[in-house]
Amino acid sequence: MTVIDLHDVQGNLVKPYGRYGYPLARYGFLRIRSGDAARHWLQAVLPHVTTGAPWPDRRAQQYGAAPPLPEATLNLAFSAAGLKAIGVPEKSLDALPEEFRLGMRGRCDLLGDDGPSAPEHWDPIWQGPAVHVWVSINARSEAALQRQTAWLQDSLEATDGGVELLTGHRGPGDDCWQEAGALTEQGRVVPREHFGFVDGISDPYFEGCGQPPEHVIGEGKPQRGGNPRDASGWAPLATGEFVLGYPDEADEYPLSALPQILTRNGTFLVYRKLHQNVASWRRYMSEMGRNFPGGADALAASMAGRWPNGAPLSECPDQASADAFMAELERLREARRLATEPAEKARLDKAYACQQQRLKAFNYADDLAGGRCPVGAHIRRTNPRGALEYGQEGAFRTPAALTDRRRLLRRGLPYGSSPPETTDADEHGIILMVLNASIKRQFEFVQQKWINYGNDFRLGNERDPLVGNQPLDDAEVPGQPGGHYKIPGGAQPPWFCARLPRFVETRGGDYFFLPSLSALHMLAAGNVDPT
């Protein structure tokens, strides 16, 4: 059993902050003009970097039984150019993977960033020389966000221009920060993104991640012969798929730099700003949804693999069952909150956890043809679970052998707003952050083979209907969008969505290394020694 020093890894690696009550975020990018200044600055901010140390649960907080959580978090990551600028020797950099050194712009062909997603259309901040440092702040309140920002900006001003906060995010405000935050409905924070889907339901479960053991259900890797609805059907993924310095799913250590302590307990972070064409999405859903059996929400569900309220298509074939499923979840949540008698509370806690696991506890083994959840639906493409064995029991070493090494930890929040009268040109979308041990084998593979292509799903060149880079021109009718999507009909004919436009466009991003606290300390001290 792998044990990770959670005090040494940065907090965002093991905690999706949004789920811990941090609905607001700011992302900034720094350029290092002086290595010495950068090291001094890093020394100053290092004690404030948020680690993965376990946080007491929220209820213990309320009763004052535990130290308070920080009002705002701070995390830092470095691009390849940033590591060099802060003084990491060439020999250490040489051992880092090629895709990391090339950065997202250098990999745009592989990522399908063409047309409106091409780097020349990215935000101004990506048009200059490489950014060096990624800084992220997550906060529990607006006031905390302002305080943390002001403190950080003061720390940067103290460098006398040695470390500069770059501008050019194309957002509102003073342009120094990419603002992001959970959307709200009637003043209440909701875990939805702009297309209306509840997001962030599932996150890979790996050995040592510090999450409760029952989370392995639906979030670990599928096991042969087990029941996908309970823990017998799942096992934790190897730590080395997400954290460097630990064995991975191929029984070996992921890449490490010299000295090894530079990379151990760290990982690679992909920052990607994805603009959402919300108006186009709504228009397409309403026009196509008129003819689609079940209407616009059913069509949206067929594309995502989940109903907008989060209920999985695999469990809930229609709107009524999806609503009932989520109503039950809400009822249990409320009952659990109100319960006072300990035995009753324990029972409700268990029932609630059980219902919540059902959001993820499926593996497509009983839906190979996609009659319930389409083979090309977004959540099925990005995590096919056991589906790629195509029901050929025993064909592969494990049912999800082709999936286990392609899993991604997803972090991030929406940005901007999308009121009913919104247009595609409005500034709104999602800041996606992916954490993985190998950007090439994990993030890039999923983007390339599963989002922007369909052969592994036996779908020809079909792409992810939600986030794929649909062809800008239809082969038959130039000028019309050229995407297409097949919704299998089970015992009925399939339904085809034609002329699918690109609903999501890339607005910028890069590849970063998220060091451990130990490595940050080495960087600050300037004593990274590869020999």
């Binding site: 062909d109 592989l110 399908g112 799913e249 191929a250 029984d251 070996e252 043809a369 064995e389 195509y390 050929q392 025993g394 064909a395 592969f396 070493r397 052998a401 082709l402 286990d404 090494r405 090439k440 084998r441 593979f445 390339q448 083979k449 922007n452 292509y453 369909g454 052969n455 592994d456 036996r458 779908l459 020809g460 060149n461 079909e462 062809p471 082969a475 297409h484 097949k486 299998p488 009909g489 015992a491 009925q492 004919p493 399939p494």
Partner: protein, 227 residues
């Protein structure tokens, strides 16, 4: 030089067999074609990344010698020649083997000198890379299609021929029913293909080569013969 023809990648791997293992390797090859080992190869079929692949054995004393003036070979080992036409990138192919069907792979290769086993992945990667030979001219009859596309299309055609042969003789209602039955039964075989997406940075080299070819047409071979 190109290992890529649209969606197909040509792989050649030439490796020495451990002494005395040739007959066992032959036996395994023979068994692979029979029921006894076919289940071992179920994984290979399910991967469905491969158009055609094969293994040939070249005994150390039987390399083709066509002229008494031709030097004869003087080798210690028999050799294994592996070839494959697969879809996707080199990494995807090699990774898929290593993570999904390590046992099948080891069955075919474990009698090879220096074969590290298919797991862990990195030594296996290094082994294939070390012994791979690049293709100089590669041709696929359908660069736009993967093996999955060919199989799906060939399943679909007879149904289309059948409906087309009688479509104008049916009542509209009857036609509609048969048409919908066809769509229902054939739904997994319907789909569109297009040019291969970029799967590796080698793609840029292919594009560049095409550009050069188009601006400077190749010299006809007959004029170029050097002897």
């Amino acid at each position: 030089m190109s290992n890529i023809a649209g969606k197909a990648y040509a792989m050649n791997v030439v490796t020495p067999l451990k002494p005395g293992q040739r007959w066992l390797a032959r036996l395994i090859h023979w068994l692979a074609g029979t029921r006894l080992l076919r289940s071992k190869l179920l994984g290979l079929r399910t991967l469905s990344l491969i158009h055609y692949a094969g293994w040939a054995i070249l005994p150390r004393r039987r390399w083709p010698r066509l002229d008494s003036a031709q030097p004869s070979e003087n080798l210690h080992y028999d050799y294994y020649l592996f070839f494959s036409n697969f879809n996707g990138s080199w990494e995807q192919y090699v990774d898929s083997f290593s993570s999904a069907i390590p046992a099948g792979l080891d069955l075919m290769w474990w009698r090879n000198v220096g074969y590290p086993g298919s797991v862990p992945r990195n030594p296996f990667h290094a082994y294939i890379e070390h012994n791979q030979f690049w293709t100089h001219h590669y041709y696929s009859a359908y660069p736009l299609a993967t093996s999955n596309d060919v199989k799906a299309a060939c399943r679909l055609r007879p149904a289309l021929c059948e409906l087309a042969s009688r479509a104008d003789r049916l009542s509209a209602q009857e036609f509609g029913q048969r048409y919908r039955t066809l769509l229902t039964e054939q739904q997994e075989h319907l789909g569109l293909v297009a040019e291969s997406p970029v799967v590796s940075l080698a793609h840029q080299a292919v594009v560049e080569r095409r550009r050069v070819e188009q601006t400077e047409p190749a010299v006809p071979p007959a004029q170029e013969s050097g002897s």
